[in-house]
Structures are given as structure tokens and as C-alpha cells.
Amino acid sequence: MYEFLDKFEKRMEWLGAAHSIINRKGKKTEIEELFSENQLTGIIISVLLFIMEKTLEQNNECDMAAIESFLSELLFTYYTDGLTQQQIHHIADYIVKSILQNNGVSYTYPVMNYNKNRVEEVTIRLISDKIVNDSNGRKIVYMLTNQGYDFLFRLREVDEEIQLTIEQLKLKEYIKRKKFSSAVRQSVELITYVRQKKREIDNFILSIRQNIHSVDIDKYEALIKSTYSMLEEEYETMTEIQNMIYQAEQRIKEEFKENEAFTERLQKARQEVQEIHHNIGVVITEQRDLIINRRSLTDLYMDTIRKSFEFSLEKRYDFEQVIISALESYSGSLDNYLKIVRSLFQPLYSKILGIPQIYAPQIIIKDEENPDALLIPMEEFDDNREKERIRIISERYVQAIGIFIREALRTGEAALSTILEDLKNNQPELYEDLKTQRTIFMTAIKLYDMGTLHITDFFEKSKRVMMTPTEELNVEYCLVKLQDMIPELSHIKEFSIEKLKAPIHDTISYQEGELNIIENIEMSDLLFRVVM
């Protein structure tokens, strides 16, 4: 083999990363079209750099909201100001989930390995994520992978490891020459580099925990050898630098005593030295943490590798064929197929040990008492019956809204409690019917949720309405149905609902099989009002 082709695959890995961004898989044309050629590539790299910046800041997590806000500012300032927040949300989503994470599917790039004389699939993953729990619940935070760092550093044509050493040398030289302002900057850079190393280790631990098979043994060894030996050396160098700082501090103190005329300059130098001193302290602490963690990382890796062998050698069945296709062609009408999920669900013990079982799920008792219930009743599959059921539900909505509007028209405003009382006394059958499945209460609450209805506007606009009865409340359908029943309906400018302080108490009773069920209703009273 030609010597110059040695480690060719390593060079190509970098190209693979570039390929994943430039020749994006799964292009969404509606988003791509928003930008001119290659503009989006630049934006994606900017987002990557932003993620790197955020992940290097201590105690700072890069979530989707942060990316969106960065993108919003970036696009507005440098690219285009004509995008809505919704579009920016879609762009951020597209960049992070579809391109950088390839919709969660591992992205591979075929690379020729000349040493082994075979094509290898190199996995490209520039960012990874983890779930964190905060006060608002779960959220996803994104971070750069080692490959991501590598890629971005190569874009700047600087090898990070050389850079770290160069930064140290520069710092030493600055201190020697008493260029403390530059040295402060340099010490901050050093903190950034060491934190980046720390992130690399954290990412590595995370990838081991998530999936040991995605971890390359060569990468593991390289990381262990290079990072730790380098860190140990650096740890010594940094201690050296810290000693230099002590000496500089001493010299400044002495100068301070002797030369009071230069107080301002010396004062500044002293502050800067203190700042460097503090920064170097931070670097040393973080490096020490990393060195101490070395053992735990090795243990974790070895342990996980060992355990992974336990299952990776087993034979597995084809999920699609054994389960999905079987379900698709399932011809049984009993529920036995549901058992296939048993092994994944938590063990259920309440039935044998718990008394609440007797009271709680009546459905189980019914099934046990009457095994025939497991047969599918024919009527469930009768379309006409289903249509009739939906028509009745829909009719109840129309009736309920009709009553609310009529009562409000009669007196200008009407409380739900009064309407219910009237119905109960004068039309008890209708009252009971409208309470079925809590229809009258739920309709009132849904109308309250919708806010004011502008009925005249609705009829004037002659909006096309689907005149099909539905199981869900469709106010437009109800209004069109009510048009013939309430002549003044189209003259109502506003129909509004307000919440009153007093509560309503009611009960619904019905029979289910042999069970008598009573539901107690408690809700705020509502006031219906019309403006003509």
C-alpha cells in the first residue's frame, strides 16, 4: 500500500461529516427554498458553533429554545428578516433533528480502508442529546460529540491538542514578559479547552451508557491514552505556571511598596494577576477531576463491554415478520394477541393482593363473570348503528346550544343553573337525555372555552360547513342546524359566556349492565348573554 494512503479512512471521516451537512439527506424543499444556494449550509455550521459555545459554558445547557432564539437573531441580522417565528421554529427543528441528528437514525458514510482493503461504514454523529429533568418537566439538551468538536476544530485548521499546548506556551511567555492583560485572555482560553476535554469524557461516558456498540474501541483507547497522558503532563505544566504567577504576584507587591508613583498601572497588573491566578486554579481543579475520573471510565467501559456480549450473541427473531405482519393478518376475534406485550409490562399484583381491585375496574369483573363478553358483538361493526349513535350525540349538542341561545334571547342573559332547573321541572325527559355522557355540561364548558361567538359574522361570511354529524362538538354545524329553528339567530352579533362564582351541583345516574352508576357533577355556574 502507498504510505501516503495510511489512515486514509480518518481523512475521509472528516469528509463524511462535511457530506452529512452539504448533501443533506431528507431535504425538505419548503425550508431549503427559503435560502439561496449554500446559504443554509452556513447557517447549519453556525448552529453547530452555537451548540459548541453553549456546551463549553459551565452549567449551561443548550436546548431547542436557545437554538431557536440564536437562529432567530442570526437570520434576522445577517440573512433575512422576513421569517415568522413559526418558520424559524421549523428551520431549527429541521437543522437539529432532521440534518444534524438524521431523524434519530444513525448516519453512515462509506470509506475505503486501504490497510484492510475493504469499504467501511463510518458513523457520523456531530451532535448528541440527553434528557434532563427541570422544574418544567423533561427537556432535551443538545451537545457536540467528540466527532463534532473534531470537525469544527478542523474547520479552523487547528489541531486542538497542539492548540492547548500552544495556549500554555503563550501564557507562559505573556507572564514572563509581564503582559498580564493578554495572559488573562489566555488563561480564559485554557479554561475553555479543559472544559471541552471534560465534555469529551462526559460525552464518551454517555455514549457508552446509551449504546456500547456505537463506541469504537480504537477511539476509546485513543481517548484514554492521549487525553489522560496529555492531561497529566498539562497538570504539571499548569502547576509550574501557577508558581510563576505567585512569583509575579510577589514582585508586584514589592514594586508596589517601592514605587508608589505607578500605583494605577500596578493596581491593574495586580488585579490581572489575581484573575489569572483564579483561572489557573479552575483549570487545575478541572484537570484533576478528569484524571481522578479515569478509573471510573475504564471500569464502565470494560463492564459494559462484558455485559454487551451476554446479549449480542443471542439469536433474535424478525420483529416485523413475527409481530407486525402477524398483527396485520390477525384473524382472531379474541383478545389473546394483547398478551404478547405482557413480558414488557410491569408485573400486576393488585389482583391477588389488593382489595381495591374489587371496587376499581368493573370492566375486569364483567369480563370474568361473563366470558362471552370477549366475543365481538356484531353490532359494533354495523355502520348504520354507529352512524345512528353519532347522529344522536350530535343532535344533543344542537339541542343544548339551542336551549342556551333561546333562554339568553328571552331574557337577555341566562344562567346555566336556571336553565337546568327549568328543564328539570318542565321537560324532565329532555333534561335526563341531555345529561347523558355529561353532554349539556360539557357543551357549556366548551362554549366557555371558545369565548365569544360572532354569529352574525359567521352567517354573513357564508362559510362552507361540513353538514355531517360528529361525535365531537362542531359549533358551526350546530349553528347552521339551529338557523331554521331560531329565526333571530343570524341577528345575534355576539353570544358570550361568563363564569359565575356560585357552583352547580348535579348528579347523573345510569345503568351499565347490572351496575347502577351515579356520577356527581360539580362545576362553576355559567352565564349566557346575547348582544343583538
Binding site: F319, L338, I340, V341, F345, P347
Partner: protein
């Protein structure tokens, strides 16, 4: 006798929590490793038709597919989909649940887990595509089966295709259907929904890699499907 007492304690904990790990219960965990306790547990395993899986410092209690005592009963599982749910809806929900598992764990590599997360929008598109394909290729076949057994695969697909993807006020949408399935998975500590992505728990990852996908289980699964026949 002590070994039996420890085994019962472990069993009790596993029944209530489903798993026992070294971090939360170091005492019981070390007792689990004792050979005599293992023997006693083997008896319980056999009698209760279940399995103790030990992986990554955690012991899981996995009910067997035919475990009538510890495993969830079909009727109980059905009630998860709501007391008003029709059998077609239950079938659809269950199909979606299994399809989610398929999307995650049908990898042919050493590690069967092939994706880290599944976006709800992607899942909806995949199901749309699959149902469309099924409906067009096997309409006649399904109709024939329906006549014989009144099965509801095609009706379940019709329910799905008639649903809107998402709607502000409507409850019966594809998005909500998936949300309900994820709620069940979350209750069972198997998966959860975060920022419109489905993520699996390490519990599900382990159960799938360690046990559920094992080729030896095929006959049991086939059996469950067969016994559904009238």
C-alpha cells in the same frame, strides 16, 4: 430458611416495583447474588411463570407470556385504552404500540436498537404509508377475512385514515392517539414523549435486547396469535 426469606423479600419488591437495583437496595441486591437465594428464586420463577433478568446491576421481574397470575390480563390492558374505546380502537392502539417497538428495535446489527428517538410526525407518516399500502394490496383478502371472522384490521385502518393529524379542539386525532399510546408506555416505564419525540427508557432497551427479541420466544408469540382464532 434465611435464603427463602430473602427470596420472598426480593420477590415482593419486584412485584411492587418491577425492578431491583444495586443503587437503591444494596442489601437486597447482594442477597440476590447469593447462590441459595437464586435457588429459591428459581422455584418462584417456575411457579409464577416469570423470569428474573439480571443486567447492569439491576434485576427485572418479567412475567411470562402465559403468566395468568403476574401478567397483565387482556381485559385490563384493553381498559387502558379507555372504557369507551371500541375494539377497533384498542386494536389500532395496540398496533401502533407494537409499531413503535418495531421502529426502534428492528435493527439487524448486533444492537437491535436502530434509532435514538422517533418523531411523532415521522411515525404518523410511516403509519399512513403502511396502511395505504396494506389497504391497496390486500383489500380483497381483508374483506374475505372480515366476512369470516369479523376482524377489524381494515376498520382500524379506516378509523386512522379518517382522523385529522392534529386539531385544536378535536380529541380524536392521530396525534392524540399516539399520545395515548405513549401514556400507556410511560405508565409502564417503557417510553415517554418529550418535545414531540418518543424516547425509550433504559428498561425497555434492556428488556428488548436481553429477552423480548430472543428467537426462542417466537413459538410463544405465535401461540398467542393462534389462540385468538375462533
Amino acid at each position: 430458611m434465611e435464603a427463602y426469606q430473602s427470596a420472598i423479600q426480593i420477590f415482593k419488591l419486584l412485584m411492587s416495583q418491577g425492578e431491583l437495583n444495586r443503587r437503591d437496595n444494596p442489601g437486597l441486591y447482594s442477597e440476590y447474588l447469593d447462590a441459595e437465594v437464586q435457588e429459591a428464586l428459581a422455584v418462584l420463577e417456575q411457579e409464577f411463570t416469570c423470569k428474573f433478568l439480571h443486567f447492569d446491576d439491576t434485576v427485572y421481574l418479567v412475567p411470562g407470556i402465559d403468566s395468568e397470575i403476574l401478567g397483565i390480563q387482556p381485559a385490563e390492558l384493553r381498559s387502558y385504552f379507555g372504557s369507551n374505546a371500541t375494539r377497533r380502537e384498542v386494536f389500532l392502539g395496540f398496533y401502533i404500540m407494537m409499531y413503535i417497538f418495531h421502529e426502534f428495535y428492528s435493527g439487524k446489527n448486533k444492537d437491535p436498537k436502530k434509532i435514538d428517538f422517533l418523531q411523532v410526525s415521522v411515525l404518523i407518516a410511516r403509519l399512513d404509508e403502511r396502511f395505504e399500502r396494506l389497504m391497496s394490496t390486500s383489500e380483497e383478502e381483508i374483506e374475505e377475512l372480515e366476512k369470516t371472522y369479523q376482524i377489524n384490521l381494515s376498520s382500524s385502518m379506516v378509523i386512522w385514515s379518517n382522523m385529522l393529524v392534529d386539531h385544536e379542539t378535536k380529541r380524536r386525532t392521530k396525534y392524540n392517539m399516539i399520545k395515548n399510546v405513549c401514556k400507556i408506555l410511560e405508565d409502564q416505564k417503557l417510553a415517554y414523549l418529550v418535545e414531540d419525540q418518543i424516547r425509550t427508557t433504559s428498561r425497555l432497551d434492556i428488556l428488548m435486547r436481553q429477552y423480548y427479541l430472543h428467537a426462542e420466544r417466537v413459538s410463544q408469540i405465535n401461540h398467542a396469535f393462534d389462540r385468538g382464532e375462533l
